[in-house]
C-alpha cells in the first residue's frame, strides 16, 4: 500500500463506509496475500487467512487508533492469524528448540563460492529470478522458513519473532542463520548459470 498515493479517507473507513473498505482491500490485499503465502507455504491456507484477516479488520476498524500506519495494523492482524493457524496445525514446528547451529548441509563447498553480487539488477531481480527466490524460500524446512519470513522479509525484530513463536531469541538467531546460509547456497547455484553462459559466449 502506497500511503502517499492512497485516497482512502480514514474517517469514512472508520465509520463503516463499504466503498472505502473495498478500496482498502484492493490497496493492501496483494501484499498481505504474498506474506501469508510465504509464511504458510500453501495457497489455500493463505487465502483462508486472508479472508479471516479482512473480516477481523472490518470489525476492529472503528477502534483503529492511528498509532501505526493502516497497512502495518492490517499486516499485524494477518501475521497473528497466520501464527495462530501454525500453532494449531503444526505445534511441533514452533516447539522444536533446535540449538544445533550447524548441520552437514551447511558446509560450504567450492561450487558454492560464486560472487553473484556483481550481476546486474536486471538479472538478480528478473521475473525468472524472483520466481526462483520464491521457490527457494518455499523449499526451506518450515521451522526455518517461518523465522526467515518474519525476520528478513517482514522486518520483525529477533525479540518480536521469539515472542510470537514462543522460542528463545538464541533459537531465532540460529534458525535465521541456517535459513540464510541455505538460501545463499541455493542462489549461488542458480546465479552460477550466468557465469557459465558468459564463459560459453
Amino acid at each position: 500500500m502506497n500511503q502517499e498515493r492512497s485516497t482512502i479517507q480514514l474517517e469514512k473507513l472508520k465509520s463503516g463506509d463499504r466503498e472505502s473498505f473495498a478500496m482498502l482491500v484492493d490497496e493492501t490485499s496483494g501484499k498481505i496475500y504474498n506474506t501469508l503465502l510465504q509464511l504458510l507455504g500453501n495457497e489455500q491456507d493463505a487465502e483462508d487467512i486472508l479472508q479471516d484477516t479482512y473480516i477481523k479488520a472490518y470489525r476492529a476498524i472503528p477502534d483503529f487508533e492511528n498509532r501505526s500506519a493502516l497497512y502495518t495494523w492490517l499486516h499485524r492482524i494477518a501475521l497473528n492469524e497466520a501464527l495462530m493457524q501454525i500453532r494449531i496445525q503444526k505445534p511441533q514446528i514452533i516447539s522444536i528448540d533446535n540449538n544445533e547451529p550447524f548441520s552437514e548441509d551447511m558446509d560450504i563447498e567450492q561450487k558454492d563460492i560464486v560472487d553473484f553480487c556483481c550481476l546486474p539488477e536486471r538479472e538478480l531481480l528478473s521475473k525468472e529470478s524472483r520466481h526462483f527466490l520464491d521457490q527457494a524460500v518455499q523449499s526451506l524446512p518450515e521451522s526455518l522458513r517461518i523465522v526467515f519470513v518474519m525476520r528478513d522479509m517482514e522486518g520483525l525484530s529477533t525479540q518480536e519473532t521469539a515472542d510470537s513463536l514462543g522460542i528463545s531469541e538464541n533459537n531465532v538467531k540460529i534458525r535465521l542463520m541456517r535459513a540464510r546460509l541455505i538460501l545463499r547456497k541455493k542462489l549461488s547455484g542458480y546465479f552460477n548459470k550466468f557465469f557459465v553462459e558468459e564463459k560459453e559466449l
Binding site: R18, G30, Q51, F102, L183
Partner: protein
C-alpha cells in the same frame, strides 16, 4: 568459480556470520572476522553474497503486488463487497 580451502577459522567465522551482517556482533568478534576476511577471499564472497541474499529478499518483500483475480473475487464475495468488484484501481 574459485577454489576454496576451507579452514577451521572459516567455519568459526560462519558461526557468527548472521550476527555480523546484522551488526549485532560484539566489537571484538567483529574485528576478528574483519581480520579473517582480509586474508580469505572465499569468505569475503560468502559474506558479500549472504548480505546480497538478505537484500534481495527484502526487496521482493517490499514489492507492491496485485491479488490474483480469482482470489480477489472470492475475497470480495466473502466480505459482501460484490458491488465494488469492478472498481479495481488499475495501478
Amino acid at each position: 568459480m574459485i577454489n576454496h580451502t576451507y579452514t577451521s577459522s572459516c567455519k568459526q567465522m560462519l558461526g557468527n556470520l548472521s550476527d555480523f551482517i546484522d551488526g549485532d556482533l560484539q566489537a571484538e568478534l567483529c574485528s576478528e572476522i574483519e581480520e579473517h576476511l582480509k586474508n580469505c577471499k572465499n569468505c569475503r564472497i560468502v559474506v558479500d553474497t549472504l548480505k546480497k541474499t538478505v537484500e534481495l529478499y527484502e526487496r521482493c518483500a517490499s514489492d507492491e503486488t496485485n491479488l490474483p483475480d480469482d482470489i480477489r473475487e472470492r475475497l470480495f464475495k466473502k466480505l459482501a463487497l460484490n458491488e465494488w468488484m469492478d472498481h479495481q484501481d488499475p495501478s
